[in-house]
């Protein structure tokens, strides 16, 4: 028989295409070489599968909502039954050829004819292989469905990517695990994984072989080539996780062409996902779309196209609705936006659609506040129509606010630095603003260098004006911005070294730095500078001794704006009053730092340690003065009682700095890493006052925030079950009769952390419950200003 549609690959994309085709009466066949939805089938049991991107609707006859692996697989299985989709498996396709308008599909079991073929083979079916003798032995495996079934085994993991390390971490508590890494250290790992694996290696729970390669596998042993020797490692099991790649030779054999010879190049397809071979479609991961929902929508759209129905992209109605105040077709509306806002001019059509889709449009009637100075928010605003005024608290009376007009943008300071808003923005008359979330904007900047350049230069212009010189002329500012370099540094990178000749001036754009001075053997931290501050002027101003007087080191991921010596002097020549100001400051700093060196009090020696431990990252840190603390744990009990029986504060765990204890409790970091990977997006968030909090109802218990917290201050706990039994039942259960006590373990874990008792006007219960006043909540800057270690 001749099928109307033959789908190769029974993953979400392929099933979606097949289900829709079967529903529309096309004769359909699916060929799958493994399990149905193999990739998801191989996930760990009960793994939460996400349904990103949230705002795009699903267009499929299969159901798909974020949920556990089991629920999703069941839903698809039901749909396959319902539409009677014919799936042949396991059956691997060997070749596809087109002859006289018909496709001939050759598999390992037989041959089929079809009018249309959809290739939805994904990339997981093509894992990268080790290619060494013995790799086909039964104990060498490319997948690991359930790490919990292994116990007391010697396991070798080959590969050091995210997936491999996740596997190692899941295995290493109950087994002796080693990991083979091709590189000389772990790199390109997610931060949280990087930290966890390094901890495990340090604790000798995991053995890491770096710069290593497999020589050969034998039953029970693996021979590993190390830089200096060949090691024989005992291995009961070997897992290989070195990624997967596009099965390019197969695709090329089918007639699919590629954009380039690059390894990362994708198949060339048109807007209907059709390859150069008419009737042969490529969808899903193999076409470069990694999200399940995208692939499912594509499957549906391909079938619509085969049926001859005209089908608009899935986001069309949402975009049209969003831009309903503009005229014309959607394309015309988008063109209008790009023409009005120069920042968006270089953006291609598809990324622009995605950007607008994620943006929020604000239509303001009159004078309305967009955000307040010191708010913690980090989106970027574009002015599509109207104008806004920026005002500052430190403004002199009578000074006029700065006006921004149609086409310009604002909010880039917080976007890039992650710090509080530096101005209050109010609309002047009716205006239309486009608000772009931080994530979307950063992605756009990463993909469109032209956009990044505009945002960066604007940032420099405004940063120079805000932090250095308010009446800097626009033309000079532009010129300096054009010449300035933006440099980024990792934690502990040295930016400026004591003793070197100074050739540049720096303004901290994001992150923070510490200033240390070395005298003989001893290195002391003298200061800590947050974003917005500058350094490096001292050596430039001193023509007699242009060497650096101190070392400046990044204390976290930090970006600085670098002005070279000539440009810095160009600025000073135009503004002698600024030079005067700087010289006075230098004088003051010198006196201060001399006084400081004399001061060397006990508490100072802890500054460096506190910096290392990230206490400065916090905005609100719980400190316990151990010299006053009577260890009554009333703070812990208070936390427990006011938070449904679960404390978020562990007094006996934490870091001691002299007599100050920083217990395990959230510090409400300035750049909260915990917010990065929240699948629901807003289960963990930061309110404008800077408090980071979790909404329990939204938390799916994935644990990302907990593993991203560098300080271990987010806990994954089973919520306390609600007591549903009547009092008499409870008494009965005391003697062993009656219904059992509800078990916490039956409920899924949720992330919990300190919320600073944000719903209580009187402040944190821990502090209010301390009988001796040992517990206090402070901003680190507050605390350190007292001992003279912060700022200028």
């Amino acid at each position: 028989m001749i099928y109307d549609l033959l789908v190769v690959g029974g993953g979400p994309s392929g099933l979606s295409a097949a289900a829709h085709a079967a529903k529309c009466g096309l004769s359909t066949l699916v060929l799958e070489q493994g399990e149905v939805a193999n990739t998801i089938f191989n996930f760990q049991k009960k793994k939460h599968v996400m349904s990103e991107p949230g705002m795009i609707p699903l267009r499929s006859d299969l159901q798909f909502e974020a949920g556990t692996r089991e629920v999703i697989l069941q839903a698809w299985h039901d749909a396959v039954q319902k539409y009677q989709v014919q799936i042949n498996r396991p059956e691997a396709v060997k070749q596809i050829t087109k002859k006289d308008g018909l496709f001939e599909v050759q598999s390992d079991k037989g041959a089929y004819q079809a009018k249309h073929v959809v290739l939805a083979i994904g990339i997981q079916g093509n894992p990268n292989r080790v290619g060494k003798p013995g790799e086909d032995l039964p104990h060498v495996s490319y997948k690991m469905a359930d790490p919990t079934i292994y116990l007391d085994k010697d396991i070798l993991m080959i590969g050091a990517g995210d997936a491999a390390i996740e596997g190692v971490l899941a295995l290493c508590d109950k087994n002796r695990v080693s990991v083979l890494n091709r590189n000389n250290e772990f790199f390109r790992l997610k931060d949280a994984l990087d930290r966890q694996i390094n901890e495990k290696v340090k604790a000798k729970q995991v053995v890491a072989y770096h710069s290593a390669a497999v020589e050969r596998f034998e039953p029970g042993y693996t021979y590993i080539t190390l830089p200096d020797r060949v090691a024989k490692v005992k291995t009961d099991l070997v897992f290989v996780r070195i990624g997967a790649s596009l099965p390019r030779p197969f695709l090329e054999k089918c007639g699919v062409t590629f954009a380039s010879k690059e390894r990362s190049a994708l198949p060339t397809i048109n807007e209907h996902y059709e390859s150069q071979v008419t009737g042969l479609y490529v969808i899903g991961a193999v076409a470069g779309y990694n999200l399940i929902k995208q692939g499912m929508n594509q499957g549906y759209e391909v079938v619509e196209h085969i049926l001859g129905h005209e089908i608009k992209p899935v986001d069309e109605p949402m975009l049209t609705e969003k831009l309903n105040f503009l005229q014309g077709s959607l394309d015309e509306r988008l063109v209008q936006i790009a023409a009005t806002i120069p920042l968006l001019a270089p953006v291609q059509k598809q990324p622009l659609r995605e950007l607008i889709l994620q943006a929020t449009l604000h239509q303001m009637r009159g004078a309305q506040t967009v955000y307040q100075e010191d708010d913690f928010s980090d989106s970027l605003f574009l002015i599509l129509d109207g104008k806004v005024a920026a005002s500052f608290r430190a403004q002199l009376p009578g000074e006029r606010p700065i006006l921004l007009y149609q086409g310009s943008f604002f909010g880039e300071m917080s976007l890039l630095s992650g710090r509080r808003r530096s101005a209050t923005i109010t609309t002047v008359g009716p205006s239309v603003l486009i608000e772009i979330p931080r994530k979307a904007m950063l992605r756009l900047m990463a993909n469109e260098p032209a956009v990044k350049r505009i945002v960066d230069e604007t940032f420099v212009v405004r940063a120079l004006k805000t932090n250095l010189l308010k009446d800097l002329e626009d033309d000079l500012a532009q010129e300096l911005a054009h010449k300035a370099n933006i440099k980024s540094f990792k934690k502990d990178d040295v930016i400026v070294k004591q003793g070197e000749v100074g050739d540049a001036f720096y303004l901290i754009r994001s992150g923070s730095v510490k200033i240390t001075k070395r005298e003989g053997e001893k290195e002391t931290v003298v200061k800590y500078l947050p974003a917005g501050q500058y350094f490096g002027e001292m050596a430039l101003l001193d023509t007699e001794d242009p060497t650096r007087k101190a070392t400046i080191t990044a204390t976290k991921q930090t970006e600085v704006i670098q002005l070279m010596k000539e440009d810095f002097w160009a600025l000073l020549h135009r503004h002698p009053e600024f030079e005067q100001h700087l010289r006075e400051n230098v004088q003051r700093t010198r006196i201060q730092s001399q006084a400081f060196e004399l001061m060397q009090t006990g508490s100072m020696s802890y500054v460096n340690k506190m910096l290392q431990e990230g206490v400065f990252d916090g905005t609100d840190v719980l400190l316990i003065d151990e010299n006053k603390c009577v260890r009554c744990d009333n703070c812990v009990k208070a936390c427990e009682t006011t938070h449904g029986g679960q404390t978020r504060l562990y007094r006996e765990e934490g870091l001691l700095f002299g007599n100050f204890l920083v217990p395990t409790s959230c510090r409400h970091c300035e750049n909260p890493l915990c917010l990065i990977d929240c699948p629901p997006g807003d289960a963990i968030q930061r309110d404008p006052k800077g408090e980071v909090f979790i909404t329990e109802a939204k938390c799916i218990g994935c644990g990302n925030c907990a593993s991203n917290c560098p300080y271990g201050n987010i806990f994954m706990l089973h919520p306390k079950p609600k007591e549903t039994r009547k009092p008499w039942m409870r008494i009965l259960s005391l003697v062993g009769a009656g219904p059992p006590e509800p078990k916490a373990e039956d409920l899924p874990t949720k992330a919990v952390k300190c919320d600073l008792c944000r719903n209580d006007s009187a402040g944190p219960a821990c502090v209010r419950s301390c009988p001796t006043g040992a517990a206090m909540r402070v901003t680190p800057e507050e605390y350190f200003v007292k001992i003279g270690a912060v700022g200028r």
């Binding site: 006053k628 009577v630 009990k637 001691l656 007599n659 009988p771 001796t772």
Partner: protein, 278 residues
């Protein structure tokens, strides 16, 4: 030195309040004693009694306030500060109520118990002021949870060394791992347990040296590694007991203060019943 402690809470607020209340009380008593013979039955005596009773309730309310974690009624620190001065004042109010008459009866028993309570409270206060800095020194960067995990690590490393060795060796290991999981004194046991702080390290070192010749030569290398771990463990444990002893002291006084205050309240109830009913 007492700057920033509970005694000087909020700019010595309760110190000043307490001292002035004491002065007012003394003045009023001088006036009251000048024209009547002071005793519990007079109008003045009854007023002092009522004030004393109110004070006792206010004092005992600290126990409730301390546990009402969501309460907005001041801070616990403020309550403790007031509790101290009010407690001291009762030593003045109650004798004034009795006109400084004491006897061998339930009435004086109630007062005697009150004295015990206040004195134990003062003892507790001095412990609260003196011990935390000592404890901080003892902790010196090693919090109990770290010590505990260190201990677990050491016990874990001991196990393979002792496995399959001579009986003496294994028995030593068995005793050590049992000791590692001994329960720590809690609750009432705080009052009656003396943590063993004798120079355990030297004692054990001698003991190990004595055992060494009895260990077969082939196992001696493992035994000496085992001994090193064991001594490390003893050192950790002595840290832990040192901390424990101070922590016990911080809690133990409450096991006098609180039950005696409840007994005192019972005696006061009997006292009220006796004087008002009969």
């Amino acid at each position: 030195m007492l700057e920033g402690t509970v005694l000087f809470y909020s700019g010595k607020r309760y110190l000043i309040l307490g001292a002035s209340a004491g002065a007012v009380l003394l003045g009023s008593y001088a006036y009251y004693a000048s024209d009547t013979t002071p005793s519990g039955g007079t109008v003045g005596g009854l007023i002092y009694g009522a004030i004393g009773l109110a004070a006792i309730f206010a004092l005992m309310f600290l126990g409730i306030r301390k546990r009402s974690y969501a309460s907005h009624l001041g801070t616990v620190r403020g309550w403790v500060s007031a509790h101290i001065y009010l407690g001291l004042l009762t030593l003045l109010i109650i004798p004034m109520h009795a006109g400084f008459h004491f006897g061998w009866d339930v009435h004086t028993l109630a007062f005697a118990l009150l004295v015990v309570v206040v004195l134990s409270g003062l003892g507790g206060l001095s412990l609260y002021l003196a011990l935390p800095p000592l404890l901080t020194k003892y902790e010196s960067g090693m919090l109990p949870d770290k010590i505990q995990s260190e201990l677990n690590r050491i016990v874990g490393e001991m196990k393979p060394l002792a496995a399959g060795k001579t009986g003496l060796f294994q028995r030593l290991h068995f005793e050590e791992s049992r000791r590692a999981y001994e329960p720590k004194p809690q609750g009432w046991r705080l009052l009656f347990t003396r943590p063993n702080t004798s120079s355990a390290l030297t004692v054990r070192t001698q003991e190990l040296n004595r055992i060494l010749p009895q260990i077969p030569a082939s196992q001696q290398e493992d035994f000496s590694r085992f001994s090193a771990l064991l001594l490390q463990k003893i050192e950790m444990e002595s840290y832990l007991t040192g901390q424990m002893r101070l922590k016990n002291a911080l809690q133990a006084w409450l096991y006098v203060h609180v039950p005696v205050s409840i007994a005192m309240l019972a005696a006061v109830a009997v006292h009220l019943l006796v004087v008002l009913y009969y």
